[in-house]
Amino acid sequence: MMSDSQYKPVLLRNRGVAEVRKLAVYRERGGYKVLEKALKSEPAAIVDQVRQSGLLGRGGAGFPTGLKWTFLPQGRTKTYLCVNADEAEPGTFCNRVQMESDPHQVLEGIIISAYAVRAQRAYVYIRYEYPQQAAALESAIGEAREAGLLGRNILGSGFELEVHLFRNAGAYICGEETGLLESLEGKRPWPRIKPPYPAIRGLAGEPTIINNVETLTCVLHIVDRGADWFRSLGTERSPGPKLFCVSGHVKSPGVFERPLGVNLKTLIYECAGGVREDRSIKAVIPGGISTGFLTADEIDVPMAFESFTREKNGCLGMGTGAVVVLDETTDMLKVLHNTARFFSSESCGQCTQCREGTGWMYKMARRMLAGGGRSEDLDIIAEQTERMGMMTGQSICGLSDGASYPLRTLVTKFRAELEERMEERKAKGLAVA
């Protein structure tokens, strides 16, 4: 494995290239060559290649992409490809950078993947708060259609594909794949009961593949350079390159492309230039708020899907690889409040435990912030997270797990500070939050 600093970006190779959003410039840099190559091979061969690459979905759950594709029923007449660009996990902004800096690369990945799963319609479901990114993608789609890269008989291969852009109405839950489907169908985005999984019954009841933007871009490079190249990067169980968003109290936040398995400390201290004003770290969110919090002692960890488990460090997973750094000056009670507020606002309200539980925890957090916190509230929050998320099966989708892990890790790992902060506020007297 090459060392981190030598790594040459693949997914972000066109970032900073002037006018690369234009089709002509993208093509000059070898764009759509991989598509030509892909269209000459059998779709099944691409699926096979993706399987062999060991690509894990980049949307957060890390499900093997190739395996997902093989769930599609054999005799299907219709297939949809949904591109999940509803990047709403707090701290995550890598899809955004991809779409705004290199929309054609994203589109090429989509076309190749659609060909592999034999979809004739692809829907890019983009977050409402991404208007510029939507515009960039929209114009790329327009250019591609004009150049015969979309539509009927793409590049003379006989393959037909239309790509539609759909801007959501601004809800976190729409990023959940079946919530996304409901929303795309024009309904309230309440996640569906699974099984059946979307690959069997998805959009409009037809077999549907839903993948993250970054995942599909990885497919492009797997087809280009082969599964072995992909496996040569990253760890045994988490192969390939990954975009890491580093934000929070760091000197130079941003998106950094590194192979999976890169040390979290490397990302913080080398890529992002270290903590602002060279303070020490209090806590780090490794992969978006849902994954939970690491203490300063736990950050010497390789960023790979297998590194984050409840047993190892109390975290839900690597998530989207969105690192948020909190320095020593951070008030963890405010962090708890903010976290609880986010999930109570974003719970879709379908399942009892999540709907009422997130609301309850937010009310407690609000009271703590106002000086009315009790030690037993922390016990209730801990118990609550146990009942909502850790006891699996409590809800239809993963949102309640996502709400549980950060709050639980906060309460278990930072309890002393939380108690202290509550006392401070109590001493100041009750005030309205």
């Binding site: 809800a171 839950i173 309230r188 309440w190 009961i193 109570s344 606002s345 974003e346 719970s347 879709c348 309200g349 379908q350 399942c351 009892t352 435990q353 709907r355 009422e356 539980g357 997130t358 609301g359 309850w360 937010y362 009310k363 407690m364 609000r366 009271r367 209730i380 009942r387 006891m391 699996t392 099966g393 409590q394 809800s395 239809i396």
Partner: protein
């Protein structure tokens, strides 16, 4: 034949719930099978007449399923919602493990966090699933000391109120309006714990299925204005009845207390109405308490109206009819029988008249009609025929034979003086009697057997108050030709008796009137009346 038997066996699979081996129908859920076997798994959002959302999470159970790779039976790590888990041969379901109990307790605690706990003033109290399940699975205390999320009360339709803060967001009402009534007026707005049931802007629950949302609401969120604050449900008793609003013949429960009707509720009937009933029928109980009801038996004697007590009616009426037949001769008496009456009463009235005058003419009464059937998305139908027993009437008259006539023919027979004794039965909720029989002037004898006062009853020689169907027992034959018996729910008003009581006495049957006795006789005349009795006990609504 053996193939068919194999197929029939295929439709059931055997599996285990809590050490009990049960038979589940293929395609059914674990929950449904458990309930069919009397195994209580609590649930809110599931309803057998609507799609499954599995969102309340109360019916979660533990399960052993076959491992995909090894094929061994293994405990599924997650709790599974029994409402959306299909039955499968050989699986084992556990409904009483510590994990399941903890999960139920958690759901109950959560549902009650923001609930106002205003049971003392809530109409649902006593049949509230929050009360029941909290008693069984929850705890007596709330640990939340923060203010509850408050939501408003709303007037959402002609018959319906919504107390949004009592709602547990099971979404039954939303699905009902989408899948059953088809109006799609109700939706959930907002997210998370601020989720709230509401009607879409500019919409209200105005269609004729709206009353059902109050029935299916497991808590006191949707309430029926007509029932609001009227009765505490634990005082109510239920009688199995059949709606007489139209020819559909929805089976219903009549809930009553102290001989006073509280409300009608649909009674599950897969052949006719499923789990539902329409508002036309739901509020038909008001017909019992109309001011214009005929409240006493009256006979004109020597130009004067005289009241006759119910126990002498048979005697006095028989004498009066006999006098008429003797005075005018046979074949000059016509009896108009009403499709508002049950088969038993029709049969008794017809045989009674024929016992007085074997050549009496029988006339099928008018059948009020709307323009067309009203069909809702689920197929639920309000029939255009607005009488419950038109078919029963026609069939009985057919079978009885003898002289018959239509209403039109009766009119000319009266004008030509071929008929001069007239017996008219009514019981119509509308003005059918006045509209149809305006031509009747003053025949030799006019006997009116009707529920409500009319111009006809004013000029009648004999007035015989008819009971409303909930005050008697009997059976209707509905639009699908189903014989549907019903029980008496309340006793008739003071001074009145079931019509069968005096009619039966006139044909020699003494003692307390029993529709089942007449039904046995009817069975000789018509198929389908054999030994069919309505259920005695009320079961809880779904």
């Amino acid at each position: 034949m053996s193939g068919m038997m194999a197929e029939a066996q295929e439709q059931f699979v055997e599996f285990v719930i809590d050490d009990r081996t049960v038979q589940g129908r293929m395609g059914d859920s674990v929950l449904r099978t458990a309930l069919d076997h009397g195994i209580a798994i609590p649930y809110y959002c599931w309803h057998p007449g609507m799609s499954v959302v599995a969102s309340c999470r109360l019916c979660l159970v533990e399960m052993d399923d076959f491992d995909a790779k090894s094929g061994d039976l293994r405990r599924v790590p997650r709790l599974v919602p029994s409402c959306s888990t299909p039955v499968k041969r050989g699986i084992r379901v556990y409904t009483q493990t510590e994990k399941v109990k903890a999960s139920r307790a958690a759901v109950m605690e959560h549902l009650l966090l923001n609930h106002p706990l205003d049971c003392p003033v809530c109409d649902q109290a006593g049949e509230c699933w929050l009360q029941d399940y909290d008693y069984w699975h929850g705890s007596a205390h709330s640990r939340m000391i923060d203010p509850k999320t408050k939501q408003p009360k709303k007037d959402v339709g002609e018959h319906i109120l919504l107390y949004a803060d009592r709602c547990i967001l099971c979404s039954r009402c939303v699905r009902f309006c989408r899948e059953v009534s088809g109006g799609s007026e109700v939706a959930i707005v907002n997210r998370g714990h601020r989720c709230e049931i509401d009607v879409h802007p500019g919409c209200s629950l105005e269609d004729k299925m709206s009353g059902n949302v109050a029935d299916i609401c497991p808590v006191g969120a949707f309430l029926d204005k007509e029932f609001l604050f009227r009765e505490r449900v634990w005082y109510l008793q239920s009688a199995a009845s059949v709606c007489s609003g139209c020819a559909s013949g929805c089976t219903i429960w009549v809930d009553y207390r102290d001989e006073k009707i509280g409300r009608f509720r649909p009674r599950y009937n897969p052949e006719v109405n499923g789990y539902w009933m329409c508002d036309d029928g739901r509020y038909l109980w008001k017909q019992v308490y109309r001011d214009d009801r005929l409240m006493g038996f009256e006979f004109v004697e020597e130009g004067e109206r005289r009241a006759v007590k119910w126990d002498r009616v048979a005697e006095v009426l028989a004498e009066r009819l006999r006098e008429f037949v003797e005075g005018h001769g046979r074949g000059r008496l016509a009896a108009v029988l009403s499709p508002m009456m049950d088969c038993e009463t029709i049969y008794l009235a017809a045989t009674m008249v024929r016992s007085m005058d074997p050549e009496a003419v029988l006339v099928g009464g008018p059948e009020p009609r709307a323009e067309r059937n009203e069909v809702f998305r689920s197929g639920f139908t309000i029939n255009a025929e607005k009488a419950p027993n038109g078919r029963g009437l026609r069939m009985i008259l057919e079978k009885l034979g003898g002289p018959r006539m239509t209403v039109e023919a009766l009119r000319s027979a009266l004008a030509e003086g071929r008929i001069d004794g007239l017996w008219i039965s009514g019981g119509y909720f509308d003005d059918t009697i006045d509209r149809t029989f305006g031509f009747v002037e003053k025949p030799g004898l006019l006997a009116v057997h009707d529920t409500y006062a009319s111009s006809l009853s004013e000029r009648a020689d004999v007035v015989l108050p008819m009971t409303v169907w909930v005050e008697r027992e009997g059976s209707f034959i509905n639009a699908k030709n189903l014989v549907q018996p019903f029980r008496r729910a309340v006793i008739p008003p003071m001074g009145l008796v079931q019509d069968g009581q005096w009619l039966a006495a006139m044909v020699g049957q003494t003692g307390v009137y029993r529709a089942s006795v007449v039904r046995k006789e009817l069975a000789k005349l018509l198929d389908g009346f054999e030994a069919y009795e309505p259920p005695k006990l009320a079961k809880g609504i779904h």
